[in-house]
Symmetry: C2
């Protein structure tokens, strides 16, 4: 795996101890999360839309309606910021100030590439279904021509990227440690529930 | 509660059936979620940062380091887009195309207001702790002057806002209903685990 170069945009200034530029760790976060927040300039302002994402090799993919305004802005050349966040816990400190959260997040900057080649596009959409559930792309009825046209697939190179990770308990000031205040972590757990058949 | 006016930015063009401009429903989403994605223009590009949020009345609050670059951009006048997303399920359709997700999301546009009044700022931060756990603001050691200075609190009026909600099972084409493909919903459930004391 190639190393990730730190740029002006991805150098963490606040809480640099939490910065992570390890490609494997970044990929694990991207692969575990289903939803990213896709931001870019649109009509002169900023729009941030949640959308499903998946990864193929060193690229991050999103898909949506070909008519999606934010997609159109990105395909017209606006640099996007794609942010993925997994919340792992609420951290209770003895002081109000040191309350925090355990989380793993990724911020990726880049220009989008429209996946136009029909074979590549079908294959990318298959990989999306595989993230829903392994084997799914061989079970579901494949997209027809109309459906393919209605869907835009955008790829972002995972190059200008950083992760931020916080784990563990509260970090209180020495002087606060003896305060009679409960401190610790409330884990936030995301699970898949029982399947609900249609 | 005052009605929410639909603007050019908040009128949903794609999937208008999923649009929701009901203030109560929007507040429920904002109150249930811990993390928002805060986007704005910064140094000529777009940045999207995850951060804890909370609501007081008709305003949405975030806090962070006074030196946070994105906060500084917003306080310099950039309009922000704050997006909150709760993923409720993965929706498996019989066709690849109709796979979807159940979710509740809110997009809020607005300029940030720096909460400067010391009494209002302390009260706002107390309310943040109350979202961590009711009663917490009376237990934890309150912020001292240095901690107050290091923290910026920004409020956004909940005015230019929309929610998007999808619930229920897959919506397959009539012709696909007889295909021998499992269809239904995989619920995504977020819970609070057992407390881990420090």
């Amino acid at each position: 795996m190639t190393a990730i170069d730190i740029t002006e945009r991805t150098r963490l200034r606040r809480g640099p101890k939490r910065a992570c530029y390890d490609r494997k760790a970044i990929y694990n976060i991207l692969d575990e999360a289903f939803v990213c927040h896709l931001g870019a300039s649109m009509h002169g302002g900023t729009a941030v839309q949640p959308t499903f994402h998946w990864r193929i090799g060193d690229e991050l993919y999103v898909h949506g309606s070909s008519k999606n305004g934010l997609f159109q802005s990105i395909l017209a050349g606006e640099t996007a910021c794609v942010t993925v966040t997994l919340l792992d816990g609420l951290v209770f400190a003895r002081s109000a100030f040191h309350h925090s959260a355990n989380f793993r997040s990724v911020m990726l900057y880049g220009k989008g590439r429209l996946v136009e080649d029909p074979v590549e596009k079908r294959s990318a959409l298959d990989r999306m279904l595989e993230k829903f559930s392994p084997g799914r792309s061989r079970e579901a009825r494949p997209p027809n021509e109309t459906e393919m046209k209605a869907t835009a697939v955008i790829a972002f190179a995972i190059e200008e990227v950083c992760a931020k990770v916080r784990t563990g308990g509260p970090v209180d000031d020495e002087a606060d440690l003896s305060l009679p205040v409960w401190a610790g972590v409330k884990p936030v757990i995301t699970t898949i529930g029982e399947l609900i058949p249609d």
